[in-house]
Symmetry: C2
Subunit: 341 residues, 2 copies
DNA sequence: CCGAGCAACCCAAACGTTTGCGCTTGATTA
DNA sequence: TAATCAAGCGCAAACGTTTGGGTTGCTCGG
């Protein structure tokens, strides 16, 4: 058990105070405590290390950073952590980072440009070694600004042309959802399209619409409703779709949360999810399978994306050449589309 | 290893480089850029500030912390951010902290003691000004260690005797759920009890069982299954309950995610959620209301808890006297218990 | 006209680390 | 036996900031 000897008497325990206790120079302590203790006798190293442990020494991160210029921290920007998809990605990021001896600091930007800027400023002034951006949007001028700082970064979840990114193939995902519904005989469908400034929303929707169009059933614009990525946004969009003069027989939602909102709207319209209105989600969160009506969803490897983004970033930090990755999505068919049609 | 070789022409912009540009002393720049620029002429302040902005100056957090000993950072420990309840609390924390000029850094500890310790170590070596702990458990020896560091902290979501905490009244919440089911005529019920080392799990379960016992229908131990707080854990626990010789007519789940797992198990057992098996959740997440069968749930004010924990911590930092808070939960009755019984 | 008072600014010492360099030892080698 | 050498350690200079205490000038009341 590590127990500090004089908790209140002695101030914070630093290299200097350890050195005093051990009767050696402060710099010797520093070396002894470093990963490769070169130029210090083995028994001295051992003595100093146990002493440091007993005194409850913790290296001061601020001083370390100030001296070395490196923080072993990577900054992460996400729209919202209450979105389980992003939280899962972040979990993958944090895991991989921890394993590599890095720590992460995350910030919610809520798809708000002002917040993005201030969060970015914060992370940069905290001198993160690199950044992982989960909230990139088309038409933002933050990326060029960021490039000027020379701090390496990778995008995750959402793409931007010309930037290194780790995503799933969202066009393909949209296509999978569309083909599934076409096979089941759906001809008129609605889309809860998410935010068109996010590549996820834009590409999933595009893949979906293109496939229906190619099959001879182009989807009219009024059947495609933009939304955010949350339950309530999904609900609102679905309500609009359900009020259309000719009701569709299926709705494709941009992610599982909006799909749940869609389910609620369908239910309150007096329709049975699955048999009377097919619903398809995206991401295949854990809960999709367990819903009272199992949700058909396009599975994307979220944790893996997170981990991969970290590995890519670390490679960049080492000056290696890196490339973007687009992982393959898979459709998981369940009761929300398969029930007795 | 190559050392301190700066790739860009212009080095990092510091107080010194601004001072050189402005033709004043570095300390004058520091004062001009501080919140209350005392002892610097108004026009000098203006000149320096615009210059700093033009050069893209960002105060170095490490140096600032090293000098002042304060970081304006608060550390947050949660079990998992993929648990929407915790993510929502964290969102409240981050909001309130940002408004107060503080930043947060969060870490997932997964209810793992080793991880808790290492995350705590990390946050302390980053010199956070204070801590908010969302993952406290009975029987852990981390709290006494933490107290020795003199870093102030508050618990959120889960309580521990003798510690400042911001929670909802979980015993009361359990009671609300029980009374609701009793009123509907349920006599034999199952409980997915969560983790008994977390006060949430223990107290919600206790409030629920006590109420049933008082009503004359004590719940046998084999109808109470411990679990984690996630979808799969809920599903597994429910499967065990459904295999009991005498099947209950209702299941109380420790939170909404486990409740969804319960719903999946009930569905796959060939039963209708609501009419054939009542299900009650806890937290009333956004999605509870929108599920194909609306989930009856005990609402707890998550965002508010997060904000309150920050306010409490900031009061502690100012040396004020603070007290624990237990917010009141409210039952939201929906189809998962109300459907035609 | 002279010192007091004051505004505006400069100086330098910290904060806790890391790290190149130089100084002792004692042992090895020519 | 003396020159060489490496191991083991001490010394001191940074890193960028804040801040208590000078040091200038200047104004102004007596």
């Amino acid at each position: 058990m590590p127990v500090s000897k004089h908790p209140s008497r002695t101030g914070p325990v630093t290299l200097a105070s350890i050195a005093a206790h051990a009767g050696v120079h402060l710099s010797t302590v520093s070396r002894a405590l470093s990963a490769q203790p070169d130029g210090v006798g083995p028994e001295t190293v051992e003595r100093i290390r146990t002493l440091a442990h007993e005194l409850g020494y913790r290296r001061d991160a601020a001083a370390h950073t100030l001296r070395t210029g490196r923080t072993r921290m990577i900054g992460v920007l996400v729209p919202r952590l209450t979105d389980v998809a992003l939280a899962t990605i972040y979990e993958g990021i944090d895991q991989a980072a921890t394993r590599a001896g890095y720590n992460t600091v995350v910030a919610n930007t809520r798809d708000d440009v002002e917040l993005q800027r201030s969060c970015l400023d914060l992370l940069l002034s905290r001198r993160v070694d690199g950044l992982i951006l989960g909230d990139s949007r088309t038409g933002s001028n933050l990326i060029p600004e960021l490039q000027r700082t020379q701090v390496p970064f990778v995008l995750v979840m959402r793409r931007l042309p010309g930037q290194i990114s780790i995503t799933t193939d969202d066009v393909e995902g949209g296509r999978l959802a569309a083909e599934h519904l076409l096979e089941l005989g759906h001809k008129r469908v609605g889309v809860v399209a998410g935010d068109p400034s996010a590549s996820t929303g834009a590409e999933r929707t595009r893949g979906f619409r293109d496939t229906f169009a190619k099959a001879g059933f182009p989807i009219p614009d009024e059947y495609v409703i933009d939304s955010d990525f949350h339950v309530r946004g999904g609900r609102r969009a679905a309500e609009r779709i359900l009020r259309l003069p000719v009701r569709p027989s299926a709705i494709f939602a941009i992610n599982d949360f909006t799909a749940i909102g869609v389910m609620g709207a369908v239910r309150d319209a007096g329709l049975q999810v699955g048999s009377e209105m097919a619903v398809v989600g995206y991401n295949d969160l854990d809960l999709a399978e367990q819903l009272p009506v199992g949700l058909t969803s396009v599975r994307s490897p979220l944790t893996e994306m997170g981990e991969l983004s970290v590995h890519t970033l670390l490679d960049m930090l080492q000056g290696k050449k890196v490339r973007s990755r687009r992982l393959r999505p898979v459709l998981m068919a369940r009761a929300s589309t398969l029930n007795s049609r």
